[in-house]
């Protein structure tokens, strides 16, 4: 897989909050009164759990649930791996917010013309390479950008080299079908509010299983209902004596078979 990804190693994070500030600046977000929560003015947060800091942001899923549920296809997964939102298409049904397994998309509740807000995986070309605002400013290299498969290798080799430092799990490798953002942590992910009960395959399958059956339901149903009404109407005609005797004999047998 050639898509880009971000590896965030929580054990290296010192909680300086530079990434949050950079994100605000680079994405020209309005001043944010509540830095503790994701919101329509805040694409990422740095929080603390006991001795460890950790981040929250859109995970940029490999097979994004938000993109699959949106009735107008306002979300797209780009070739680079970013999950982007197009406000011009959106009609504001908020199904994406309901469905996102990581509870990421945020809404502008107090606007008459609201849009959905979330991290955009803001890739910038700097110093001859690619960086997101948050990966670029991180003084500790706790957030770094790279090819996803490469980052996965790094993550696992870190776990192997320091088994005492990490829980043996790369969050996002397969969760919800895998995500472009990969996480390493020293404390179990549940404690940080990262769900461990997510399907290990793509979430959109959950609804696609049902949706993909629709054409056959329509066909079968149409034929059944049509046939049913044909048989019944025929019966009524027979009862009211509209059909001739000899036709009747043949029909009776057929109907018995149909029942």
């Amino acid at each position: 897989m050639e898509t880009l990804g971000m590896l965030i190693d929580f054990t290296e994070c010192i909680g300086c909050g530079e990434c949050v500030k950079a994100c605000q600046q680079f994405n020209s977000l309005p001043p944010n009164p509540d830095p503790e929560h994701l919101s329509d003015r805040n694409y990422t947060v740095v929080l603390r759990y006991e001795e460890q800091y950790y981040r929250k942001l859109c995970m940029h899923c490999q097979d994004p649930t938000c993109a699959s549920v949106c009735p107008v296809g306002a979300f797209t997964k780009t070739e680079q791996g970013r999950v982007l939102y197009n406000a011009d298409k959106c009609m504001g049904c908020r199904y994406c917010m309901m469905a996102c397994p990581f509870g990421v998309p945020r809404y502008q509740w107090s606007k008459a013309i609201p849009v959905i807000k979330k991290c955009v995986f803001c890739i910038h070309e700097v110093n001859g390479g690619k960086e997101t605002a948050c990966s670029w400013v991180c003084p500790m290299g706790a957030t770094r950008l790279g090819r996803r498969h490469h980052l996965l290798d790094i993550a696992w080799s870190r776990i192997r080299r320091h088994p005492d430092r990490y829980v043996p799990y790369v969050y996002g490798e397969n969760d919800a079908g895998g995500t472009s953002v990969l996480l390493l942590s020293g404390v179990p992910f549940e404690q940080l509010g990262y769900r461990m009960d997510l399907p290990q395959g793509p979430m959109p399958q959950l609804t696609w299983q049902v949706l993909s059956k629709i054409p056959s339901i329509v066909l079968t149903g149409g034929v059944l209902l049509g046939g049913l009404s044909w048989i019944i109407n025929r019966r009524i005609q027979i009862e009211t004596g509209d059909l001739k005797e000899n036709e009747l004999a043949g029909d009776k047998e057929k109907e018995v078979g149909d029942e």
Partner: protein
């Protein structure tokens, strides 16, 4: 034709006029607030629970309660049970109005309702919501067409009327298929939230649950509508015919409960539903309402009185309403950190929409040939 209004007793509706006016004026003010200041100004919705009363009640309940339309047209036109024909028109009318209410409710709930037509050109066949949108759109058209003969009859357009009548059966079949699809798909909508929707309600059988309960409540609505029109306009079906419908309803309910309870037992265990949590209270109330009609019918099986039928149907309606609210709101509350309870404004606007619907219904009854001309006698004759 206008003699259809002859039997109307308008003294009862008149009592409600002042109340209706207050609701109406309040509704207008709140509508302004909603569209001028945004959803946050009138609703208590949060980022953690982005769907509330308007999705749970206006849309989910609205669609379920309008199921009488496809259930009854199916019985009358497909299975040829002629004796229910006299409630066909009011049922189709209320289903049609129901879907209009759902659509209007959706316009209030959507953040950018002026983009609603995007669903027609920006296809995403992977989205359940996309499928629901199309089915609701098409089915509303079907209902409009099914309703059109009534208007044509009033206008005396005999030629057009004959053309429309020729299309009755295809329309009915299309209506049943479309209803089957979107009634169940409203359940499919919630398949994408495992772990968010409480396990009392989350199951991969949600589409089947939604469909079967919609059929049950479809019958219940026909029964209730018959009683209400009897009370309001002194026109209703014979109790015996309603009792027939009650039997259909009970069979549908039993089917639903077998599937539902087995599934529930398999997923969480029937004893675990009494765990004393908030969800438990809501689930147990919901199931009791579903079971009450069965109990009543069992107790009174030899003497189905109108009162018993009315209570059974009302109980079924309450059960389905509670079920949709449970799936849409209560079951999602825990994962949303219990951050949402509907504001009075949300209640008021929902009430505003319902009041509007009822008003239009009454006007239609007054000006269109909805009920058979000579009321009760004509119906009784047909039955015998």
């Amino acid at each position: 034709m206008s003699s259809a209004s002859g039997g109307l007793s308008f003294d009862r509706p008149r009592l409600w006029m002042p109340v209706g006016m207050v609701i109406f004026l309040l509704g207008l003010v709140l509508t302004f607030q909603r569209f001028y200041f945004g959803l946050g100004a009138v609703t208590n919705l949060t980022d953690r629970q982005p769907w509330g009363l308007w999705v749970g009640f206006d849309v989910l309940c609205g669609v379920a309660l309008a199921a009488g339309g496809f259930v009854l047209t199916g019985i009358v036109h497909l299975l040829n049970f002629e004796r229910y024909k006299s409630v066909l028109r009011p049922t189709v009318l209320s289903a049609f109005l129901g879907y209009i209410l759902v659509s209007v409710g959706l316009l209030y709930d959507l953040g950018k309702p002026w983009n609603i037509w995007h669903a027609m050109i920006m296809w995403n066949p992977h989205s359940v919501m996309f499928e629901v949108a199309w089915c609701v759109m098409l089915y509303s058209t079907v209902l409009a067409l099914e309703f059109s003969p009534i208007v044509l009859e009033k206008l005396g357009q005999d030629k057009a009327l004959r053309v429309m009548r020729a299309f009755t059966l295809p329309l009915v079949i299309a209506g049943i298929l479309l209803s089957t699809l979107h009634q169940s798909s409203l359940g499919t909508v919630f398949l994408i939230v495992p772990g968010k929707l409480h396990p009392f309600w989350y199951t991969n059988l949600l589409p089947i649950h939604f469909f079967l309960s919609a059929v049950s409540v479809g019958f219940a609505m026909v029964i209730l509508e018959s009683f209400v029109s009897g009370w309001l306009f002194r026109k209703s079906l014979e109790t015996r015919v309603i009792a027939d419908l009650g039997q259909f309803m009970v069979v549908a309910l039993m089917l639903y409960l077998i599937v539902r309870l087995q599934d529930l037992n398999f997923k969480v265990g029937l004893l675990n539903i009494f765990d004393g949590s908030i969800e438990s209270w809501f689930l147990v109330s919901e199931l009791s309402l579903f079971l009450l009609p069965l109990l009543l019918v069992f107790l009174f099986r030899n003497r189905m009185k109108a009162g018993v039928l009315a209570i059974s149907a009302a109980s079924t309606m309450g059960a389905v309403v509670l079920n949709r609210l449970n799936v849409g709101i209560v079951g999602m509350a825990r994962s949303g950190g219990f951050s949402y309870f509907p504001s009075w404004r949300e209640f008021a606007l929902s009430l505003f929409l319902v009041t509007g619907g009822v008003t239009v219904f009454i006007l239609c009854v007054k000006y269109l040939p909805i009920f058979p001309e000579s009321g009760q006698e004509a119906i009784s004759e047909k039955v015998e």
